[in-house]
């Protein structure tokens, strides 16, 4: 069991309101990712769920039971910190055993659980080392091991991959996803990296300045962002925004086109521009195209794109996939991608 319900929770540090009234339903067994720019309150909310920060107002329910002022240890949640927060003077074995010893579990049971966790996380050879003698990825796994043995009803991760190098990050991403599939336990995962969010999440909650802009599956957020912020935050490279002159009877204030939805055409298209920097990634090519009165557009083209610096090219986009935003930056669903089916 591991469903968590937040009802109108807020958090203020002194006078600064960090979390605005916020509602969220986290379902049992799901992998939910909190994503948003730095300083938008993701960690704070996670720590409130863990019980490490007081809730200023509102209620937190865990498995349907009021838990707003329950102490952290009694909530049945486990957290993996960004710094790993391993106990430096204890061996890996004792680190993993610590929560069990605190819970007065029998030594034989502890031994068995450690062995199981170590096998699962490939830590068997390192059990007698100190955390200081491990690599970043191994420390990460010890932190996860310490969380697993408690059999929590939900795991909380706060930017766990931030301190790892890029290739290790991809590996650990996979391992954590794998872990979620095999444990089938609720996981709440905080990150500011939208790629992590898109690849791992069952559902994503996009944070901005202490509020949740939108909650949905990765594809929902990609296809039907509710506003410019979500549209710009989800997807890599970022969506291009093009301001348009307002027309009577049309609320459209700006258009949004994802780089992958541009087409380079030989005949006159919607836009014409001059190619700036060209980034060849092999499988695909990113062009930075300067368009008069609009600015620089990022265009994703095929890997064998021949355009070079200074070329004049024509761009067009599938009408159906262009997003329309009104003056407040809200999506106009009827005119945007997926709008037809919704309308």
């Amino acid at each position: 069991m591991g469903s968590i319900t937040l009802k109108q929770v807020t958090k203020s540090f002194d006078d600064v309101n960090v979390i605005k009234p916020l509602d969220l339903d986290i379902r049992d067994g799901e992998f939910i990712v909190f994503v948003g720019p730095s300083g938008c309150g993701k960690s704070t909310l996670l720590r409130m769920i863990a019980g490490l920060e007081d809730t200023t107002s509102g209620t937190i329910e865990i498995d349907g039971k009021e838990a707003t002022s329950v102490p952290p240890a009694k909530r049945g949640l486990a957290m993996v910190f960004q710094s790993y927060a391993l106990y430096p003077h204890m061996s890996v074995r004792n680190n993993i055993a610590f929560p069990l010893k605190q819970a007065k579990v029998a030594p034989a049971v502890i031994k068995e659980k450690i062995e199981k966790a170590a096998t699962m996380l490939n830590l068997t050879d390192y059990l007698d080392r100190k955390p200081g003698q491990l690599s970043g990825g191994q420390r990460q796994r010890v932190a996860i091991g310490r969380a697993i043995v408690r059999q929590p009803s939900a795991f909380l991760f706060d930017e766990p991959l931030l301190n790892l190098d890029a290739s290790l990050r991809v590996n650990m991403r996979l391992e954590i996803s794998q872990l979620h599939k095999s444990l089938d336990t609720t996981m709440i995962y905080v990150t500011h990296d939208q790629v992590e969010a898109m690849t791992m999440a069952d559902r994503i909650a996009v944070f901005n300045g202490g509020i949740i802009e939108q909650v949905g599956t990765p594809l929902e957020l990609y296809r039907k962002p509710v506003n410019r912020f979500v549209a710009g935050f989800i997807g890599s490279p970022k969506m291009n925004f093009i301001d348009v002159a307002p027309k009577p009877g049309d609320a459209t204030h700006s258009l949004g086109v994802r780089p992958e939805h541009f087409k380079i055409t030989t005949e006159q298209g919607l836009w014409q521009g001059q190619v700036g920097v060209v980034e060849h990634l092999g499988s695909e090519t990113f062009l930075h195209v300067h368009v008069d009165h609009i600015g620089t557009l990022t265009v994703k083209a095929d890997g064998d794109c021949q355009a070079v610096y200074g070329d004049q090219i024509n761009l067009t986009a599938e009408q159906a996939k262009i997003m329309h935003f009104d003056k407040q930056g809200m999506t106009i669903p009827a005119l945007s991608w997926g709008g037809e089916s919704a309308a």
Binding site: A73, L77, S83, Y87, P88, R146
Partner: protein, 290 residues
């Protein structure tokens, strides 16, 4: 300092200060060593004959030596125990976010700035005096006979005075150590279900081990040579009950004008200090390594 050139340069630059320090240490040591083999008394001008180990024999076979040796150990050990336990407690309290924390920290540090003679006098006259002292007043208020501290508990009284002086030092070092403890470790322990005692013994105390080692080593060096507090309060008495090695050397050499005997005592003190240092480094020195 990575290249050979920069290392050589560093050696050249360090040479003057290192040689000055070495001379500073070696010359008095050699002179003391030399005097310790002479029959050299200021009251009896003469040839200052070479008398071999006679000075050492006198110093080491003096019954006062054994007593003051154990007094020295008791004094160092007692003060270390009090300042470390008290220091850890104070450091934890001062680490809490109390109102006016900075002023409290300044005040806690104050005893360290008071000269040993002054603090010993304050303790002697204002606290431990059997007639006018605060403790005597308190005892009378309770209806019990006041204790004459320096007559009845001379060594313990000195331990208390010296502890009072060194407590701030220990507290300050331990406080900075506590402040460097990663808060996330404590939060992780919270989530792991650790209570205050578990957190203290499994996380805070191991984290403090380096700082505790540093405090022990530094304090030991200074505590082996406690002198002013004894001179001002008990003058080593009654009998030799509060005489430590340092004070014994003073009574042997300066009071009897026996330079040779005092020097021999000094060399013995140096040897004892080195034995203690080696012992301590063996015991806890590995805590200082990473």
């Amino acid at each position: 300092m990575a290249t050979t050139q920069s290392r050589t340069l560093a050696k050249i630059m360090l040479f003057p200060s290192v040689s000055l320090l070495l001379a500073w240490m070696i010359v008095p040591l050699c002179m003391t060593l030399y005097f310790s083999f002479l029959d050299y008394n200021l009251l009896m001008p003469g040839d200052n004959e070479f008398i071999g180990f006679l000075n050492y024999e006198f110093f080491l076979t003096d019954p006062a030596f054994v007593e003051s040796f154990f007094n020295t150990l008791l004094l160092v050990g007692g003060v270390l125990l009090i300042t470390l336990c008290g220091g850890v407690g104070l450091a934890i309290l001062l680490d809490e976010a109390i109102w006016g924390r900075n002023y409290v920290r300044m005040m806690v540090l104050a005893p360290f700035f008071v000269m040993p003679t002054v603090s010993a006098l304050v303790w002697k006259n204002m606290f431990m005096n059997p007639v006018n002292g605060l403790f005597a007043h308190f005892a009378q208020w309770l209806g019990v006979t006041p204790v004459d501290f320096f007559a009845e508990l001379p060594l313990l009284s000195i331990i208390v005075i010296v502890s009072w002086q060194w407590l701030p030092f220990a507290a300050l070092i331990l406080l900075t150590a506590i402040q460097s403890l990663d808060r996330e470790q404590l939060e992780a322990a919270d989530l792991d279900g650790a209570g205050p005692f578990s957190k203290f013994f499994y996380i805070v105390l191991p984290h403090l081990s380096r700082a505790v080692t540093a405090v022990i080593l530094i304090e030991t060096i200074f505590l082996l040579s406690v002198f002013a507090e004894i001179l001002v309060t008990t003058s080593g008495g009654p009998g030799y009950a509060s005489t430590n090695i340092t004070y014994l050397i003073y009574t042997q050499s300066l009071l009897q004008f026996d330079v040779g005997g005092g020097s021999a005592g000094g060399i013995v003190a140096v040897i004892i200090a080195n034995i203690v240092a080696i012992f301590l480094m063996r015991l806890i020195g590995k805590n200082l390594e990473n």
